[in-house]
């Protein structure tokens, strides 16, 4: 299905957030995920299904003042 991932359109195989992280090769540590403007708690990655057109944001910490 096609989702909006970090502002870009992307075709993904994953059906849920946990699978999406695996598909992208991301570590779960110290990232956070928002699905359609709602934070997805880490404990609910597996239960959070993805739907066509979802807006997903995946963020982490970088240097800043």
């Amino acid at each position: 299905m096609k989702i909006q991932l970090n502002g870009e359109s992307k075709e993904v195989q994953a059906a849920d957030v946990l699978a999406l992280i695996a598909e992208l090769g991301l570590e779960q540590r110290l990232i956070a995920i928002e699905r359609n403007l709602e934070v997805v708690p880490k404990s609910q990655y597996a239960e959070t299904a993805l739907a066509e057109g979802d807006h997903i944001e995946i963020v982490h910490m970088i240097g800043g003042g």
Partner: protein, 259 residues
Amino acid sequence: MSDDTLKVGSYEFRSRLIVGSGKYKDFETTRLATEAAEAEMITVAVRRVNITEAGKENLLDYIDPKKYVILPNTAGCFNAEDAVRTLRLAREAGGWDLVKLEVLGDTETLYPNVVETIKAAETLVDEGFQVMVYTNDDPIVATRLEEIGCVAVMPLGNPIGSGRGLANPFNIRVIKQRAKVPIVVDAGIGTASDAAKAMELGADAVLINTAIAEARDECLMANAMRDAVRAGRAAYLAGRMPKRSFASASSPTDGYFWT
């Protein structure tokens, strides 16, 4: 001074120098300078992961969240909604509840948008965040932010990254005199004397990024800032002498053996 700790919300620190982690040439320099500053709290920004660079090393591989209190910021947010979103994500990422709220007004001055800052502070305090809030050097606004429940108020010394020192030392002092929460001078510190001056005025801490990151020798400047903050704090606690219009001899004026 060993028991002179900085209490911010439920946290307690020995260091009164908070550092930022932006603008460094690499992560290793960030780590070394942060150690040289003997800081215990370090700000970080929240940004999109670069999906195409998964597995690349991260700032927090160098700045250990078990060793430092990580202070996520809302840098780059120009409205309350984006700031709240950012900090909700930061809390989920690392469990951090102590946060630095800054809502900016425009890209040229980076001055705070106080109206949006107040809106965001209300929401974040309601949601259980411990909010350290960047704001103008305005005593009325500082009091308002304290009333909302912010755990520290952080007036600017001068615009972010300007290195121009304290524009309005009198307001910093007034803000401090009226506050019950810690006052942190955030932004504008350019060199060690600026940091010492802020501490002498009674600031409880200073937050420094650019002055260290853009120094020719980052670690040496971090040492200098560490020492300046300690010296300024000691001078504040010691209580400075009064200023006089005329001289006051340091040696006794009696017992002269010449005429």
